[in-house]
Symmetry: C2
Subunit: 188 residues, 2 copies
């Protein structure tokens, strides 16, 4: 293999990765990030998030030329017109994305070349909570199940270790499994 | 106002809404939903969720003709190529979307016609956790702040009540603020 092949593993530049880790080790303030979303109601169950700037690595990041937009909606049975994935599904997407990227980065750091990472997520919800019809069920998912199929140049036991380490370090898994102090206020 | 104007409030069919609530009151099993996401790695920090079928209201829902797809990526400073909003931003989108739809539905139920619902969300994260550089900081956001601007045909105090009720019943707010039991496994 060439040096380039070694440097780029799983599509991740490992030289950049270890450089980033060294830089944050040397100056912990570079690890402070703030992510932001602006959302605007479009009517009915339809609303749209705009995602652009963030703070991180010691500065306001201006590298994104254009914002990302994500639409949220609801299916007909939940009084919408399918204007987008619904917010509970978007939460599962966030979880899938974070676990997958964690797997890819951990594998890159440990010298495991991956060929496939796929996942299926299920969340069970009794909507009587969110609809205000019952105080005996919670509003959100009662449980979430995530099942990964992972293939690469390592035995299953090694791939299992990568998954366990990735889960232990995933930002969104941490938030969804442990919760985050969250304030909701009216603007003054 | 015409009867139609009264029936459709904030883009929500209130006759359908109260009919749905009555149906679930009469048969609690109709309140059981399962939402699902399938995700596939695209290389590096890029992965894509496909969101289609779900179970709810007593049956497998087949009303969506095509799936939704959502891309996740990371910015350059986090070793990606900006292939999409990152998973932490997607989680904020899920929260914004759910709170907004809850506000719109609660307002529709209470006879409040809204003209504007906008929100800004911020999440603070020390990425030393997720990068495995520190066990003293958590992996996810330390806190999330959500600020709403809401306008409609009601005094601020009423709009504040709508926001409080919507927050108290939001599925994603519940999950993010309290956490969800979540299992992550390798497929057999």
């Amino acid at each position: 293999m060439t040096a380039i092949t070694d440097q780029i593993r799983n599509g991740v530049d490992t030289v950049q990765m270890f450089g980033t880790l060294d830089a944050i080790k040397a100056d912990a303030s570079l690890g402070r990030f703030q992510f932001r979303v602006a959302n605007a109601w479009q009517g009915g169950a339809h609303n749209r998030s705009t995602i652009h700037r963030f703070y991180g690595a010691g500065q306001e990041d201006t590298s994104r030329e254009a914002p990302f937009t994500l639409d949220a909606g609801e299916p007909a049975v939940l009084l919408g017109h399918d204007e987008g994935a619904n917010p509970a599904e978007a939460l599962l997407h966030a979880l899938a994305g974070c676990l997958t990227t964690s797997i890819v980065y951990v594998a890159a750091a440990r010298g495991v070349a991956l060929t496939r990472v796929e996942s299926r997520l299920e969340g069970d919800m009794d909507v009587r909570g969110a609809l205000g019809l019952s105080d005996e069920v919670r509003n959100g998912f009662e449980r979430i199940r995530v099942t990964f199929s992972i293939e690469g140049d390592a035995p299953e036991e090694k791939l299992r270790e990568v998954l366990e380490r990735a889960t232990a370090r995933s930002a969104v898994f941490d938030m969804i499994s442990h919760g985050v102090p969250t304030t909701v206020e009216l603007a003054r």
